[in-house]
Amino acid sequence: MMRPGFADPVQDAQSCFRAVLEALSRPGRVQTLASGLTPPAPLHAATAAVLLTLSDAETPLHHDAGAEADAWLRFHCGCPMVAIGSAAFVLAVTPPPALATLQAGTDEEPERGATLVIQVEALEAGSGWRLRGPGIEAEHRLSVRGLPDGFLADRAARRGLFPRGVDVILCAGDRIAALPRTTLIEEG
């Protein structure tokens, strides 16, 4: 059965956009979205809200969330579904793909790098990884449950590409946190 999207598309998408902006400008800080969404499984409310807010007919999407979520995303976002190498947004509800398979942009147009939305089991501030970099005064700590072990190493190995790269938005339940390409992460 098809489920509804945002109850008030303009207001809800704007407040969600604000939260995403806040998350990206303060890497690793956990934001809570009150979206009121009941998306089809396996999507969490926060994942669905981020995609409803950011993707539309002009942003090709790639995902691994299955047929029901596919129909829901096509109906509400109207985004074209493409192969992973040409997607502007990539949604991973299972362990995320290797970052090298995503668009990284070009040196002239680094903004063309893909945004990877990963749905994880839990996000908690205060322990776990140590984050440093732009947007963080000294250090920020974030613990993420449900990411494969190789993810940080894969991300660190691609730092040399800067300004090209991939930005990551982590979603769990109704919470999000972001890891822009500039953020340095050490395991805590």
Binding site: M1, M2, R3, P4, G5, P9, F75, H76
Partner: protein, 149 residues
């Protein structure tokens, strides 16, 4: 096109051309509609109308048109009703979408067709006939030149 699709095309066309008041007037005699959930809209936007000169000319953009669309689903069912109507009447779009969803249910269809779609279609045909009668009264027949030869 299958028969079901033809029938649906017809009732969607009739509903798109009927005003919200006309639909509501017909609904008084129809069985009550089940509660519904809005999936999208009703929302108003523009669509580009495309034209073509003659049968084989190149397509060109004729103008933009204001359209209101709505998609709903009925409680307890998984059918989705859609409506695209001209203008910015949100209640017409929503009513048309609910009726489209209800009409897809074979159990409800006969009663709704009889109570809503047929009267609306008859009224629209009547209005069209009146219009073309008025136009026909002003028609000019060019037969004098041919007769003079």
């Amino acid at each position: 096109m299958s028969e079901d699709l033809q029938a649906r095309k017809r009732w969607m066309g009739v509903l798109a051309k009927a005003s919200a008041d006309a639909i509501r007037a017909c609904l008084h005699t129809a069985p009550p509609l089940p509660p519904h959930t809005r999936l999208r809209g009703p929302e108003t936007g523009l669509v580009m109308l495309r034209g073509r000169a003659g049968g084989d000319g190149a397509a060109f953009n004729l103008s933009e048109m204001t359209v209101t669309r709505c998609a709903v689903t009925l409680e307890g069912g998984d059918t989705v009703g859609h409506a695209y109507v001209a203008g910015r009447d949100r209640s017409q779009a929503e009513l048309a979408a609910v009726l489209d969803a209800a009409l897809q249910d074979a159990a409800r269809r006969p009663a709704l067709l009889a109570a809503v779609i047929e009267p609306l279609a008859a009224a629209q045909a009547e209005a069209r006939a009146t219009e073309s009668r008025k136009a026909a009264a002003t028609r000019v027949q060019f037969f004098t030149m041919a007769n003079m030869r």
